[in-house]
């Protein structure tokens, strides 16, 4: 009965308070709780570290671009790099974003992946996932609303209790729904800030691999539902491409036959009764047919712009796949697309890092884009039956069987550049010589220099 009364009073008080006052108080409360938890979490992860000058400027450039792309935010964001080698990134209410040294090491120098991680954490803050989970955990919603009117500011004790609970919430990970919501919002922020929305997919894929190789479970504890999240993100990444636009085809050079940019291989039809559309390669340098594709049913072939890779559409007796080959006849990637519909119109992007292809039959086909070396295969459009594709800097142009041409453009990706030119600062690497150990019977043993760290 007492609780009911308190709740009713709380509701009455809350309704009397203006929205802006509530909002301002909550931001203040979030910041206070976040700041208190920040100190403890920073200590738990080995303290804050200063990354190298170049890494700092790169991190800040990406972080500031993401923050400035937010439509409107109540928060002042700050980025903290933690010393821990554990692979993790998290955020706290009020705008505190954390990334560990271990996570930065995993990401490497890929700006798109780094932006993906930061955008996801910013999205948690913007969606108030931390503070909402905390409220649920403590059942604080009413008491805080009451407290703000009575005390005007949260007491230190309330903040301390809340921050302890918040640390537990953050370390145990958010709900599946909260993660999905943060992912989708992160993709939106990435596109708004001029980053590739697939960056977050690729870093999740890295985390999945990392967790398989380091089965401590720490990654999945703090980043649950990775596989489902990757699936969700793959299904939404294509929505950031433009709708197909009708364009003039006069300036475009469509080619139905793949040409080796290095001029060595010729693509030839090698039709037989069983394989009427089969392709093969002729090596002009050695003057003979290449046998790499012999046991396979290859119907499409495209060369990367630099000629280093070839993409082929391969029928695996069950479904259609895309296989990537190097120039020595080794398969470097197999994309198991499990497509019952034939893969057609393979075309590399100008940077050689993506491949477009069509799937389907009938009047409408699906246009897909796959990332070389990554998990992303995303459907970017549905277009009328295509005869050929060309991928230029501005996007993909599809020549439809009806004679019309459609242009589908990817979201604009702007390279990360620091405001000032920063020269490198390097140091001499030590000269490493094997250590000589005078053995028995005039023998000499050379051992690894003790200064090498393995």
């Amino acid at each position: 009965m007492k609780i009911l009364v308190v709740c009713l009073v709380g509701l009455i008080l809350c309704s009397a308070v203006t929205y802006s006052a509530q909002s301002s108080f909550m931001v203040h409360f979030e910041r206070a709780v976040g700041k208190s938890a920040k100190e403890q979490l920073t200590a738990a992860y080995g303290g804050e570290i200063q990354v190298s000058l170049h890494d700092h400027l790169r991190l800040q450039a990406i972080f500031e671009r993401l923050c400035s792309a937010l439509d409107s935010s109540e928060y002042q964001y700050s980025l903290i790099v933690l010393a821990s080698g554990k692979v993790n990134a998290f955020s706290l209410p009020g705008g505190f974003i954390f990334v560990t040294r271990g996570m930065l090491k995993l990401i490497g120098d890929d700006d798109q992946r780094l932006a993906g991680v930061l955008a996801h954490e910013i999205a948690h803050v913007e969606k108030k996932h931390g503070i909402n989970a905390l409220m649920r955990q403590l059942g604080l919603s009413v008491s805080v609303e009451l407290g703000k009117r009575v005390l005007e500011v949260p007491t230190n004790q309330a903040v301390q209790i809340a921050s302890q609970a918040l640390i537990e919430v953050v370390q145990s990970g958010y709900s599946r729904e909260a993660e999905f919501e943060a992912d989708l919002l992160a993709q939106y922020y990435l596109v708004q800030a001029g980053f590739d929305p697939t960056g977050i997919i690729h870093v999740l894929s890295d985390l999945s691999v990392y967790d398989r190789e380091h089965p401590s479970g720490e990654v999945f504890r703090s980043h649950p539902h990775i596989h489902a999240r990757i699936g969700h993100l793959l299904s939404t990444a294509g929505s950031f491409w433009s709708e197909p636009q009708l364009v003039e085809a006069q300036e475009l050079q469509f080619s139905s036959k793949a040409t080796d940019p290095l001029g060595r291989f010729l693509v030839e039809a090698c039709a037989s009764e069983s394989n009427p559309a089969r392709l093969t390669l002729y090596d002009q340098q050695n003057g003979q047919q290449v046998t790499w594709f012999d046991p396979l049913f290859v119907t499409e072939l495209a060369f990367a712009p630099d000629g280093a890779l070839m993409a082929t559409a391969v029928w695996n007796q069950v479904s259609w796949d895309v296989w990537l080959w190097n120039r020595y006849g080794s398969v470097v990637e197999r994309w198991h697309l499990e497509s019952a519909d034939q893969i057609r119109n393979l075309t590399f992007a100008p940077d050689g890092k993506k491949i477009a292809y069509t799937r389907g039959s009938g009047d409408q086909v699906e246009l897909w884009v796959g990332y070389v070396g990554e998990v992303s295969r995303i459907k970017v459009a549905e277009i009328p039956l295509v005869e050929s594709l060309v991928w230029q800097v501005g996007g993909i142009t599809a020549a439809a069987a009806t004679g019309e041409c459609y242009r589908i453009a990817p979201p604009a990706v702007v390279p990360v550049k620091t405001a000032d030119p920063i020269p490198v600062v390097i140091e001499r690497k030590p000269r490493l010589s094997p250590e000589i150990d005078q053995g028995l019977k005039d023998s000499v043993r050379l051992t690894r220099p003790s200064s090498i760290e393995l």
Binding site: P421, V424, I426, E427
Partner: protein, 173 residues
């Protein structure tokens, strides 16, 4: 002297001459054909640490280092501004550890082009001092850095002076 001995003597002479040449000064023209300088005896180009944007040389002493970095998309008014903008970051709290400005930036005529030079110390794996020359011409630029351990830097400056005195530009100024 039989033919075997003659061949052995010949090989020894060739090896001696090669070794002697390796100890002599050599002229170095950069891969982009922008500049040329004389590499002092004992200095060795480090191909493994160099790339199309960076040239690295190791000196005969343990810590001596020369490195030259190319810039192609500079947005600065002149070499002095280039230098100051870099120093702002080097000296910031996120900059070089224990940064210490030892000589203020100065502008001087470097082989016919206006350049800025500065000297600073910092603590990397060891205490180091660097003298860095900044050159900016339009959107292109270079930094030429001579670096050594703090205790040996002053003694090593002769090497750097030798390099700078032999410097010439391969492109029109």
């Amino acid at each position: 002297m039989d033919s075997y001995m003659r061949r052995l003597v010949l090989i020894c002479i060739v090896l001696f001459i090669t070794a002697a040449e390796a100890k002599a000064d050599v002229n170095f023209t950069d891969p982009h054909r922008i500049f040329r300088f004389t590499v002092p005896a004992g200095w060795i180009y480090q191909a493994g640490e160099s790339n199309d944007r960076l040239l690295v040389f190791y000196g005969p002493d343990t810590e001596q280092l020369l490195y030259i970095e190319y810039f192609t998309d500079l947005d600065v008014e002149d070499s002095y501004q280039f230098c100051n903008r870099v120093l702002r970051h080097f000296s910031a709290d996120y900059g070089l550890p224990d940064f210490e400005l030892l000589e203020e930036p100065v502008v001087w005529n470097f082989a016919g082009i206006e350049a800025a030079a500065v000297e600073y110390g910092f603590v990397g794996s060891k205490e180091r001092i660097e003298r860095r020359i900044f050159v900016a011409k339009g959107s292109a630029g270079l930094t030429i850095t001579f670096s050594d351990g703090r205790p040996y830097f002053a003694e090593s400056l002769d090497h750097f002076d030798f390099i700078l005195n032999s410097w010439s530009w391969e492109v029109s100024q």
